[in-house]
């Protein structure tokens, strides 16, 4: 069984499951069809009237048919109005659903923030109790052979169930969004001061500040360091234009190349570009040759902070590739990013170097990243995927958040410790997005189609980025 898609955000409090949206759309289609039948029968009734039938000496059955048609017009009118009323009731149900959902989210976030602050105040005791264990675990990992590390990861994979439990995923989402309150508590800041400095008030403290602080500390120990990057283009080729969510998801690069740029030739204006970004290639804390690594992951999440961290390697690689591809501030750009690629894409949209119109995220940890005005943003997330949850709660009310179960109670198809985060699973879910009846999803799809402007072919080019020695 394929589970429902749940759509929220898009500037409204409405939360609609695909079932509600589909029923409302069907009822409105029915109302239009019934009104059409009624209008045409009314015209027939007017054209072939009793006077005409009497004049041509028509049989009684024709007169009877004429009377019955006349009688059924009010029933048809009421059927159309009734269907419209039901569709409106479903919309109102979606609004009520959304308001209840938003209220519970505010309550949960508030409770989580206070709890995190309290735990932060107790941090010296927690630190004292947990430091020996942490030191022992870190030491064991450092001393472990490749085989032992592989065995440890295999153990995590074989016990991956809790990591993909939607309840645990929601817990992580709230915990991440409360990281700044925890930090303020650990620093001894009173709750009242923390609340004023936090995201909801002055925005001096916040998720990005916490990530920037952690990244800065890691850099002092030689981890997560940044380097210059270089990009190299592969030969361009002409391919079919990707005109659906499914086709777009298929274009996300996953091999050696991390970036794909597709140019749509526009006869009467600047060319449009679809820019695809893959996910994290290297999960190590130590920086190597791969710019789509953990240093870039945290760099992209910290970029919203007021602390100066410098741009992530993957973001600099993206900008270098886009400029080399000839993309200027006049060219409309749509970003499609998977995982880290989504965070880098949204982060780049904030720089306002390029004319970004839309961002489509597949499992991106982007909840706490600012969505700039004028950019439409759709975030597709699996309920069992911990990676988008690691980006915190979506603070931007205009973000269209689409959630779906990747497995729906069945055994995960993808291997690895986080099967719900697999790109293959997001490609499957993108297929379902194409048949969504939700107006917000349809409008987003129309925006992307508008950028294609009816083009059937595009020029596609893959780009490989690598880190180089400073």
């Amino acid at each position: 069984m394929v589970s429902d898609l749940t759509v929220s955000g898009g500037g409204t409090t409405r939360v609609a499951t695909e079932e509600l949206s589909a029923h409302a759309a069907q009822l409105r289609d029915f109302a239009r069809a019934t009104q059409g039948v009624r209008m045409r029968l009314a015209m027939l009734d007017g054209a072939i009237n009793p006077g005409l039938l009497a004049m041509i000496d028509a049989p009684r059955s024709a007169g009877r048919a004429n009377e019955i048609v006349d009688d059924c017009l009010p029933s048809l009118w009421f059927s159309a109005v009734g269907a419209e009323a039901l569709a409106t009731a479903l919309d109102a149900a979606a609004e009520a659903y959304g308001m209840a959902d938003a209220a519970s989210e505010i309550l949960l976030r508030s409770m989580a923030a206070k709890l995190a602050h309290t735990v932060g105040l107790l941090w010296p005791f927690v630190l004292a109790a947990s430091t020996p264990l942490a030191i022992f675990a870190a030491g064991a990992w450092q001393r472990a052979s490749e085989e032992q590390r592989h065995d440890a990861l295999a153990w995590v994979t074989s016990h991956r169930g809790p990591l993909s439990d939607p309840r645990f995923v929601e817990f992580v989402r709230l915990a991440v969004s409360s990281a700044d309150e925890f930090g303020a508590g650990a620093a001894g800041s009173p709750w009242e001061v923390t609340a004023v400095l936090g995201d909801e008030a002055l925005g001096i403290l916040g998720f990005s500040t916490t990530v920037a602080t952690v990244t800065g500390i890691a850099r002092m120990t030689g981890n997560l360091t940044e380097t210059p990057v270089k990009v190299e283009a592969r030969p361009a080729q002409t391919v079919d234009a990707a005109g659906s969510f499914a086709a777009i998801a298929e274009r996300v690069p996953e091999g050696e190349e991390q970036i794909r740029i597709e140019r749509v030739a526009v006869p009467d204006g600047p060319d449009a570009y679809f820019v695809y970004l893959g996910g994290t290639r290297d999960g190590s804390l130590l920086t190597g040759g791969e710019p789509f690594d953990m240093a870039s992951n945290l760099g992209a999440l910290a970029d919203d902070s007021r602390l100066e961290m410098g741009d992530a390697g993957s973001k600099r690689a993206l900008h270098a590739a886009m400029l080399a591809a000839g993309i200027g501030p006049e060219n409309p750009v749509a970003f499609i990013g998977y995982s880290q690629g989504a965070a880098v894409a949204l982060d780049s949209a904030n720089d306002e170097i390029f004319n970004v119109k839309a961002v489509y995220s597949l499992g991106g940890p982007t909840g706490e990243i600012t969505v700039p005005d004028g950019v439409t943003y759709l975030a597709l997330e699996h309920e069992e995927d911990i990676v988008p949850a690691a980006g915190g709660v979506h603070r931007d009310r205009d973000t269209i958040v689409v959630r779906a179960s990747a497995f729906d109670g069945e055994e995960p198809r993808s291997a690895g410790p986080l099967p719900a985060h697999a790109l293959a699973e997001y490609r499957e879910t993108s297929v379902r997005l194409d048949s969504s009846h939700d107006q917000r999803v349809r409008d987003f799809a129309a925006d992307l189609q508008g950028m294609l402007g009816g083009a059937t072919a595009v020029e596609s080019q893959l780009w490989h980025a690598r880190r180089v020695a400073p």
Partner: protein, 77 residues
């Protein structure tokens, strides 16, 4: 005369076919089946505020039944 009667008969039969198609495309909700429990709770809340969606369903079914039967009869005349 035959042409006018033929026109009337064809037009009614055609509209009957369209109406049947429209009825077949209606969601289960309009046929009296309810959505899942989560939605039922919100529809119940709506019933208090905006009137009973179930009653709208019932009236819609009655009106549809009458319209369908009328057009069927007219097509058979």
């Amino acid at each position: 005369m035959d042409q006018i009667l033929e026109l009337q008969r064809n037009a009614i039969a055609h509209e009957l076919h369209r109406l049947e198609e429209a009825i077949a495309s209606l969601p289960a909700l309009a046929h009296g089946e309810w959505l899942g429990p989560a939605h039922t709770a919100y529809l119940a809340w709506l019933a208090k505020v905006h009137g009973d969606a179930g009653a709208v369903c019932d009236r819609l079914r009655i009106a549809l039944g009458a319209a369908r039967q009328s057009v069927e009869t007219a097509a058979g005349c």
